[in-house]
Subunit: 298 residues, 6 copies
Amino acid sequence: MFTRINKLQIELPKSTYADANAAAAVQELLGGKFGEMSTLNNYLFQSFNFREKKKLKPFYDLVASITAEELGHVELVTTAINLCLTGTTHEGAPDITPMQNGVDQRNTYHFIATAQTALPGDSMGKSWSGDYVFNSGNLVLDLLHNFFLECGARTHKMRVYEMTDHPVAREMIGYLLVRGGVHVIAYAKALQIVTGVDVTKMLPIPNLSNDKFDAAKKYEAQGWHRRLYTFSEHDYQDVKQIWKGTHPLDGGQLEVIQGTPAGAPIPNLEAVEETFAPGISYEEFLEIAKRLQKSAGL
Amino acid sequence: MFTRINKLQIELPKSTYADANAAAAVQELLGGKFGEMSTLNNYLFQSFNFREKKKLKPFYDLVASITAEELGHVELVTTAINLCLTGTTHEGAPDITPMQNGVDQRNTYHFIATAQTALPGDSMGKSWSGDYVFNSGNLVLDLLHNFFLECGARTHKMRVYEMTDHPVAREMIGYLLVRGGVHVIAYAKALQIVTGVDVTKMLPIPNLSNDKFDAAKKYEAQGWHRRLYTFSEHDYQDVKQIWKGTHPLDGGQLEVIQGTPAGAPIPNLEAVEETFAPGISYEEFLEIAKRLQKSAGL
Amino acid sequence: MFTRINKLQIELPKSTYADANAAAAVQELLGGKFGEMSTLNNYLFQSFNFREKKKLKPFYDLVASITAEELGHVELVTTAINLCLTGTTHEGAPDITPMQNGVDQRNTYHFIATAQTALPGDSMGKSWSGDYVFNSGNLVLDLLHNFFLECGARTHKMRVYEMTDHPVAREMIGYLLVRGGVHVIAYAKALQIVTGVDVTKMLPIPNLSNDKFDAAKKYEAQGWHRRLYTFSEHDYQDVKQIWKGTHPLDGGQLEVIQGTPAGAPIPNLEAVEETFAPGISYEEFLEIAKRLQKSAGL
Amino acid sequence: MFTRINKLQIELPKSTYADANAAAAVQELLGGKFGEMSTLNNYLFQSFNFREKKKLKPFYDLVASITAEELGHVELVTTAINLCLTGTTHEGAPDITPMQNGVDQRNTYHFIATAQTALPGDSMGKSWSGDYVFNSGNLVLDLLHNFFLECGARTHKMRVYEMTDHPVAREMIGYLLVRGGVHVIAYAKALQIVTGVDVTKMLPIPNLSNDKFDAAKKYEAQGWHRRLYTFSEHDYQDVKQIWKGTHPLDGGQLEVIQGTPAGAPIPNLEAVEETFAPGISYEEFLEIAKRLQKSAGL
Amino acid sequence: MFTRINKLQIELPKSTYADANAAAAVQELLGGKFGEMSTLNNYLFQSFNFREKKKLKPFYDLVASITAEELGHVELVTTAINLCLTGTTHEGAPDITPMQNGVDQRNTYHFIATAQTALPGDSMGKSWSGDYVFNSGNLVLDLLHNFFLECGARTHKMRVYEMTDHPVAREMIGYLLVRGGVHVIAYAKALQIVTGVDVTKMLPIPNLSNDKFDAAKKYEAQGWHRRLYTFSEHDYQDVKQIWKGTHPLDGGQLEVIQGTPAGAPIPNLEAVEETFAPGISYEEFLEIAKRLQKSAGL
Amino acid sequence: MFTRINKLQIELPKSTYADANAAAAVQELLGGKFGEMSTLNNYLFQSFNFREKKKLKPFYDLVASITAEELGHVELVTTAINLCLTGTTHEGAPDITPMQNGVDQRNTYHFIATAQTALPGDSMGKSWSGDYVFNSGNLVLDLLHNFFLECGARTHKMRVYEMTDHPVAREMIGYLLVRGGVHVIAYAKALQIVTGVDVTKMLPIPNLSNDKFDAAKKYEAQGWHRRLYTFSEHDYQDVKQIWKGTHPLDGGQLEVIQGTPAGAPIPNLEAVEETFAPGISYEEFLEIAKRLQKSAGL
């Protein structure tokens, strides 16, 4: 089971301008083959389908707890896309064509299918697919896959970072480069424990340190790259048997934290009248409020 | 953010025989257009993308908290599929063709891609797709969609129930018919509050009461159909403004419960040597155990 | 614009037994790459997008009028699938598993997504796709495509005929082999008129006469292979400039008929209670009847 | 069966300039999940697969007759896209790059796959899919789906209207907002008759009247929003039992018209030499004309 | 079996400027339904699956040998795309957004998934699919398909030629128009031999001679349009029984050449540091060089 | 460029019985995500798109030469599928339903779309997709991917081996387990040379030696697991700098062979009259033979 907390993993800056094509590119990090939907669902299904959960508990605990963190990453990328999109169009009667700024943007689904918010699809509008989930059940092969997947995801994040300097996108990618880096190392360590091969010596892949990215350096300075959270109040404690010793790149002490980061408020996305979202007039709102307050339903 | 609890929503019976084609049919309830992956991701994205979360907090809280429950439903269906598959093949050297029972089964991905476990795909092996997510941002339209989606999902559950009497599948579907019924009514009530139209009078769709299904009747007798859980320790409390009054079908008192059901142990899936899952020999296990216990990594 | 007539192109025999796998195979002729959905939509889009409709009116008229016939072919294959499926399951309370016969059938969508009726997909359950529409706008190339498409469609029909002897499937395929043969020749003649090359000399492709198929021979004996219908009360008369002379295979006189064949009654598909279709109880029916008869709505 | 009339439902204005990206956006209304291909095919398959056509004739008649109207809507959107595209490129020898204006446009299929005409795909070039057809066979559920589908389609139309002021696109969308509105209400009324719930009170969804759209207001002024056509010379007359009483938004008298609207001429799409469409030289045309006029074929 | 030669079929000019949208359009000729991936894989599978290879050896030899040439065409289009993309972005630290030029380009996969190189997808980023392979096994039908496929491919090449004057794209398309023309005629001749119908009289389709394209005229002047290569040292010699006589358009003598064209050097694609490709630092390179030179592995 | 040799890599046994469902399962090894189409196209595109081919020549040579071997693997799996399918149906007039054995088989495309031959799709009939190609351009990441891909492919081969004991399937898989093993080690060695990490110590993945598979043991006894072929007459010689030293599993001496294995005859697939393949009657054959022998075409 999962429970939900009404917080975002980190605080995102207030967006000061819209950049719909940056938002379209960032979609790759959400719904692309190497996006957060993919890391989430790979680990979700691998943990559900894990054979010998008890005997191999530290490995199960690792995959299971990272899954929960990935849900928050999906949330974070989604929110960043929403903030990058905000303000692309303007209010006005339909006949003045208030959404004309949408017609030349790369991802028209943002304007027609959603109210200028994020979609479970990639930078070309292709929907995320269950095809992206790999789960052989063989422990070494699945860990190897996850290690590869995280390195691929890191590469895509680095490239999208280089494609846009929108402050919201940058902040989000900076943070995720660091947290993704934790997952790269965690799977490398798991592989080492299972096979005896020192996979961490390959890192980083690609060969560019996170601290070359200003927005990531900040989070590394705060030690985020050395902490693994269980994202559970009580469970998954045996990740400690994997996440231990020192960080292979900066030598700092690794640390497991039971639970989640403190989190930050979720930005309130305001109404965008020209999209009819949420599409509730003042009068309707008053009616709704009355019905909500009745003690026994309608 | 989300956190994870190492429990299943309910206890599933021990599987006493394998039925791979039943498992294949049950996949529709997991990765089909109306499967749990769809309800999960619809509400996940709708809650992330919700415009005017504060002003319309009860509705946001409703979608957000049901999302967390759906994660547990995905887990439950996945586990049921795993249990239905267990035992289809037998152990043995490759040359005695130990997986020959797989070759005529409907879903060969179960045998080649996974270690006889579940996939994010449907009853024909088609992968779940982000295309199945609807999120217009318009409150009425999204609620109407969710109401329709839950009625469609209920129909599919009823039909798969009629297609197989495998005890694990039956138990799982019985429970989900009841919990899905809660969501049907919750969205109906939300629609009523927003529009004033008494949508619950349409129910049930299809017109067959849950209590015609033995495996569901049990859960209704326990009152599961009258309880909405917040699936959050502290948040989403305003679902109380929607989930209130009486149950439209049996007239019982509706109740909101902060948090989750008690849950039950997750079945341990045993190794299936002929699939190489997890593929760890006794000697390797001893080596791994040693490495896990070292204090500072490798 | 199109208008509709509540008739089927021919009468289908009453189905005396169910064969769900035959129905699944027949789906290829409906929603496969060479199925009736493909011929329909190719000609639909080609006729809408036709450049120089006036100057090249006979060719436009040909494509436009065949489009309307194809709508009836989609109807006919759909109906045949429905009849082949009827009776696969039996009535009964859900707990007696009344749809257990569905769980081992090849196409489970027939049992879960529909009420044992047809889908716009192929023999493997893959949905029909707009990718199957070809429309270059170049007259010779589009005619060449259509000629190829009809020959491919004929091949598929011949093979499905050989795979099942279900009387409903046979009757339908027999008729469509003949009508499809008319379209093969029509496009061959159009190509001849445009390019001067005597394409009809290639026929039949594959090299097996329709009269080797008992179910088709009957329709040829009635002359269906020599008649082209305009499927329009007044329009598309210039097909006469293409459909003229003699039949290249039997030398009979070709004939254009303004309008449609006489048609036959559409079979009434009975309720299948275990699928909840249509899912209207006797009491509900009485209520509905009352509301239908009120003079001014509700 | 269907028959065809060589007319468009309404007259579209002559296009005075090309806007290929507007055309690309309009594709969503043709081949998108909520486009006219979807409404058409949902009703086509629902009417073919309808169980108890006789007992529930008014509902069957409703779905069946709207299907025929949707064919004309597909035609109308297709034609509008064609007109918006016309003139994007210019004539000239290949070496002067006469189609260079195509290379930066959003939908390159318009320039490579077609002769600057419409495709059965959406605003991102994704092909229409049979996945978009819903047909459970359960009457209430199918009507609920159709009601939702029409509301979703209306939302998309409203947004595309706001994205482009191209006169052809506007005229087409204005008309379809009105006709789509008829279908919204028709399905709402059908739902009311079956379930007793007054669904029309939810309307309009989204909450913005058609008369806020100049191009739609014109058609409402002419009463198009109060008329349901049978699109059949003789059949489907029992829609009168559903389409009766007053219009829920303006109170006007509802009316069923046997047959179709008068219609208007289909615009002749001229040759576009740089696309080789239709690609017939003057000399070839003379040869063709001769062959067409021979009395007995070639 | 196949062997490889480290050469390109022709020399491509050095690219003097980047045009990422031209590269995006050219992708249609690589991974589109009528791109080189399609011709390659159609002939690959048709030759593998050919029934009666011995009895119908000349036809088998034709399909088999063209397959090998198509591999080189895939290589050529891929290389051209790479050259068109080169230089779109610039070197620099991630924080200066060195890939910002990528964010507004049509195909963002070029920038995120690859290191500004080609993908097996089309001009809208849609991946090539095995659906594009046709292989009925019926000789006439497969030849007819191939003839149609090559005509369609020619049409697409002509249109992309008209969309961009990038020198690399032009050179590549010019050559392929000529070689594709050889395949059109080869399949036409094969059809003639099998059916007796003089299909070459339809040519060219579309009706515009290759010599209207400067970049193609050059290759025709060198006689490339009259030569069929076996692309095999010893095998497939019976293509001579098909590729014989005179060229249907210019009357020149046809010629079969055992083996391949001379070929030209493959351009060396330089490192693009901002994409981390190949991502090997100078120090790493020295280490690698040492390991490569050790005599017995590591 | 590539050239073709009319031989198969090894001799396959004569098929003594048909097993269409075994053939359907084997399709996963051809057109599945981890099938030979995937290894082929990954290396094809990686070699075409390789940055710094000269500086990193041994790695380019490795990927380029394996590509050519993979073409032969695609051929081998295709041929094995064809042999497993042969004999499923029987000859006879259409009315005796000669292909009735096809209607219950898992993959109906084998019977309708092809003449009982192989398709570029997987064990569920899903077509191979360009989505399966990974090509980041980063050398370490691409090698890591290839290493993972080959391990995944090995897992799938092992499982299909366990699912069927059809002699043709077994022979083919035995050989490919050995050759795939070579590629696993080759990419492991390449990774070691680039990163210094001894990846071969992870092997085998899954942890079961090839010699546990009788059909593979034979090939290992012949030393196939120690030889890397360049599949080129002259090029790609620098693979010697990677493929050197001893085999990590059996300690044997590794060897690079310029060129290809000797190869074996390609089985002649006989006509299957009931599929109309090749569909040439005796009389037609005589006509064709005459036309083929004319000295100057038709």
